[in-house]
């Protein structure tokens, strides 16, 4: 069968990223031909500045070698730009006369440096700053000449000026306006930047309009509108880029400022896509690489005929790649209507920080001199995190939040190469940086796969993302909504919404309706989907045991040697001699190897084989126990102190309250494990302030706490509210759990969830909205009616017997 033919015009980062994304989805769908105007394979254009300044070589910035194209069966024509598209015959013709037919065409022609149309602009010695050829010409000029003028004081111009200076030239930067980098910086930050660059020996000519470039055989001087002149040997024009759309325009494809595309990256011709700097999407043209990668993903999705990717535009951030100057800007840094600004200024130390806040969310940031928190601020912006709780300390950065919060990752940029990032797998910062640069990694998933960092408990994920961001600069982009796994582009929230809105009740429904890439998903998405299904449709969805992690499938905790541990539920942690006797007898009968009191006031019986489980469960359930669910993403335990029944300080009966809460909540499945505690007085002996839901007795009733965690990163709870009766405690608890069950992402503990959505939001839903709270509580009780079936009793009576017996036993 003949494959369809895909032609890519433009062998740059955007185009090749699209091809890579496409190969991940559908490696064999197309016969692919790539045309590039430059004589090189695809390279990292972002790193041209370090090449110019001599900090990197050209070989170091190649992304796809010629061998890579060959290995993937891609035909590559370099140094041969496409000059004509025949849309009727569906073929392209290159400068050398090659004609290649296409079924699908991708235009990724990038942009051209804008050359100001002044007399002399075509003289030898006048360059743009765009590609390897420009950089080579600049380096060559620097060998024989001394003076350079860079026209344009934007990001690119300053990087070019710095690079030329590093090559030994005397550089003057000419800028039309009175503010450098006015598209990224406000005036105070720009003034600091200018001062710092002047100290490094760059000269600036501000508010100067170029009138002509003069010279006989090559450039000799530049004349300005006010009549003044400066002698020079080289002029670099870095006043901006223009989408390169001539090819598309000549072919009659609709263009405005760029080639106009819709949210699927399709042009007005249904066979022709366009992506990268050459396009105009919803009125915007992008010149940074992060948005291009997001576009590439969407375009590949449609080329692979999946048909659901949508590009919604991007929030961008900028880092100036001038060694020794720290500058970061992102979002709506200029502020505006409805915005507030938080400012810090220390001109003496060369530090300036501005945060723009809108509706309790970070909307923009400009950092100069101290950009360590740039990646963190950008993350807060992209995720739309509610910052009202940390507002006072926000400007001083993450370090000032202390190490106790989940949002507070340690500072990646401050770390030395030897410092360990991933404490589970023992991966140091240096290894991660090396993997990113040497293997050309761009995403968190890549880094996880190659280094194992963040691949176990995940608590260093934020740190790894920061390292990615600080290593790659603006090359790094996290999609605003991360896909669940590589089976899909949909995020957790999108999948859950689809399950609710389209009334999907089974995994196969999800795979089919949401165009899953693998027919039966993978080990990452299946447990998540299964949870979303049973929590959304408790009475309809069928729990898929093969999509459960082993512990939840066999209702015990797998240990490192393949044996299991069994923890019977002891409500509120209050037991009796009879219960203890039953546990002791079972432990002896099945020769349990360890008996351990757990942190949650339960008794753990360790070292049982799978075959023994239904038998010990029978003995335990006969004695009145139910499963302790100590193995699941579920409600775990309610820890209590003895309270007013015995304690001379106790003000309420915390044990009774704990037992009632446990009776209410046991058996419920949650996005991640869920722990409770009830303390009988504010001395808080049950440690309720590090639990997912904590209750602390006070003289007048109960204080309710949420979002605590005593694990990987300690987080003290937030106070939700105070209530007076045990009935209220139960209603608020059930409502809070239900909100968590319905809205948190799978494997998201309450602590990071509360930080993500904000305490104010949870108060609004649970405390302020009485009708809403009642509705949540009602749904919780309805779900519990299905959930409170003891899995041990069922299995002791013979359910799922195949799970606990060998298929066959042979001797010898």
């Amino acid at each position: 069968m003949n494959k369809e033919r895909l032609v890519l015009v433009g062998n740059g980062m955007a185009g090749m990223r699209t091809i890579e994304e496409l190969l991940k989805l559908e490696p064999d769908l197309y016969e692919i031909t790539v045309f590039g105007a430059e004589p090189h394979p695809n390279y990292n254009r972002i790193l041209l500045s370090p090449v110019l300044s001599g900090e990197k070589t050209i070989d170091e910035i190649i992304l796809n070698s010629r061998d890579w194209y060959a290995e993937h069966g891609i035909t590559l024509h370099t140094g041969d730009p496409v000059e004509h598209i025949d849309r009727r015959k569906r073929l392209v013709r290159s400068r050398s006369g090659l004609e290649v037919p296409y079924d699908r065409l991708v235009l990724a022609t990038g942009s051209n440096p804008f050359i100001i149309p002044v007399p002399g602009a075509d003289l030898p010695g006048v360059l743009g700053y765009r590609d390897i050829a420009d950089v080579e010409a600049m380096i060559e000029t620097a060998r024989g000449f001394k003076r350079a003028i860079v026209i344009g004081g934007g990001l690119l111009g300053l990087e070019a000026a710095y690079g030329l200076q590093q090559q030994g030239m005397e550089v003057t930067v000419v800028h039309l306006l009175d503010t450098l980098m006015e598209r990224q910086l406000d005036k105070p930050a720009a003034a600091l930047l200018k001062a710092s660059l002047e100290q490094r020996g760059l000269t600036f000519l501000m508010e100067a309009q170029t009138a002509a470039i003069q010279g006989r055989d090559r450039v000799e001087s530049v004349r300005f509108a006010d009549g003044s002149e400066i002698a020079t040997d080289l002029v670099v024009m870095a006043v901006g880029i223009r989408p390169n759309m001539a090819l598309a325009q000549n072919a009659g494809i609709h263009c405005e400022r760029g080639i106009v595309v819709d949210d699927t990256m399709l042009t007005y011709d249904a066979r022709i896509y366009a992506i990268g700097e050459c396009v105009q999407h919803r009125g915007h043209c992008y010149g940074l690489v992060a948005p291009l990668f997001e576009q590439a993903k969407v375009c590949a999705n449609h080329l692979a005929k999946l048909g659901y990717g949508r590009y919604h535009g991007s929030v961008t951030s900028t880092k100036l790649k001038v060694t020794g100057i720290d500058l970061f800007s992102a979002g709506q840094y200029q502020g505006g209507d409805g915005c507030e600004e938080i400012l810090f200024q220390d001109p003496g130390a060369g530090i300036y920080k501005k945060l723009v806040i809108r509706e309790n969310r970070l909307a923009g940031a400009v950092l100069y001199g101290d950009t360590i928190d740039g990646a963190w601020f950008f993350q807060l912006m992209r995720e739309g995190t509610d910052i009202s709780e940390i507002r006072e300390d926000l400007l001083f950065g993450q370090a000032h939040l202390g190490d106790s919060g989940h949002g507070g990752q340690t500072q990646a940029a401050l770390m030395t190469d030897e410092m360990q990032v991933c404490d589970c797998n023992g991966v140091c910062k240096g290894e991660i940086v090396k993997a990113i640069t040497s293997k050309g990694l761009f995403t968190l998933e890549d880094v996880k796969l190659h280094t194992k960092a963040a691949a176990s408990c995940g608590s260093c994920t934020g740190l790894v993302e920061q390292i990615l961001a600080s290593t790659l600069g603006s090359d790094y982009s996290t999609p605003e909504a991360k896909p669940i796994c590589t089976c899909t582009d949909y995020s957790h929230d999108q999948v859950r919404a689809a399950i609710r809105e389209q009334h999907l009740t089974s995994l196969s429904d999800c795979f089919e309706k949401l165009d899953w890439r693998r027919p039966d998903g993978c080990h990452v998405c299946r447990p998540a989907l299964n949870y979303y299904l049973i929590s959304t449709w408790p009475a309809e969805a069928i729990d898929d045991s093969q999509s459960r992690f082993v512990n939840e499938r066999v209702h015990a905790n797998i240990q490192k040697d393949g044996t299991y541990s069994v923890i019977p539920r002891i409500f509120g942690g209050e037991t009796s001699p009879a219960q203890l006797r039953a546990i002791a007898e079972a432990a002896e009968k099945y020769a349990v190897r360890s008996v351990k009191i757990t942190g949650g006031q339960r008794i753990d019986l360790l070292g049982l084989t799978k075959e023994q489980l239904p038998h010990i469960w029978k003995d335990l359930t006969d004695a009145g126990f139910v499963s302790g669910h100590a193995y699941g993403k579920s409600m775990r335990t309610v820890k209590t102190c003895v309270g007013s029944q015995w304690c001379r300080f106790g003000v309420q009966d915390s044990t009774k309250m704990g037992i009632e809460l446990e009776e209410l909540t046991w058996g419920s499945w949650t996005p991640h494990k869920f722990k409770l505690a009830v303390s009988g007085c504010p001395r808080n002996c049950a440690e309720a302030t590090i639990k997912d839901f904590g209750v602390v007795a006070i003289e007048s009733g109960w204080e309710l706490h949420i979002g605590g965690n005593g694990g990987v990163k300690v987080r003290a709870t937030d106070v939700l509210c105070r209530v007076t009766t045990p009935e209220q405690v139960k209603e608020y608890c059930g409502a809070f759990m239900q909100l968590y069950r319905e809205e948190a992402r799978y494997l998201e503990r309450t602590a990071p969830w509360v930080e993500r959505v904000g305490l104010a939001y949870i108060k609004k839903r649970i405390v302020e909205d009485e009708i809403g709270r009642r509705a949540f509580y009602k749904r919780f009780l309805e779900s519990q009616a299905q959930a409170q079936v003891d899995p041990w009793k069922e299995r002791a009576a013979g359910a799922e017997a195949h799970e606990f017996t060998a298929l066959k036993q042979v001797n010898g």
Binding site: S456, P519, K808, V810
Partner: protein, 111 residues
């Protein structure tokens, strides 16, 4: 597959119905247990029931496509070859299988 191992020992281990789809059952042996897997497409594979990483019981993992993910540390192995998926390196011995009229046979000598 059968041509290569004709002279080897084929052992009937049970019926296809006894193995859950996307799941596994265990053939217990003194020389080491063998996990017998059944994919969503009803293909049957067999691997030594020890992950090459830290010896985890592969039969308890989550199965998707032709992959099994070890329950202990999430290594992902190819069911047909037993090879770990890159960048991890390691291999669990694989055993030939065949299904005849719903009866499952495993060749007890590794490939």
């Amino acid at each position: 597959m059968t041509a290569v191992v004709d002279d080897m020992t084929w052992l009937e281990v049970g019926t296809l119905d006894e193995i859950p789809r996307q799941g596994a059952r265990v053939l217990k042996r003194e020389q080491g247990d063998i996990a017998v897997f059944r994919t969503a497409a009803d293909e049957v594979f067999a691997l030594l029931n020890r992950c090459p990483h830290r010896g985890g019981p592969l039969s308890e993992g989550i199965l998707y496509g032709r992959n099994i993910v070890c329950p202990l540390h999430n290594w992902c192995l190819d069911l047909a070859s037993g090879e770990a998926k890159g960048p991890d390196e390691g291999c669990a011995p694989a055993y030939a299988t065949r299904v005849e009229a719903g009866r499952v046979f495993v060749c007890t000598e590794p490939n």
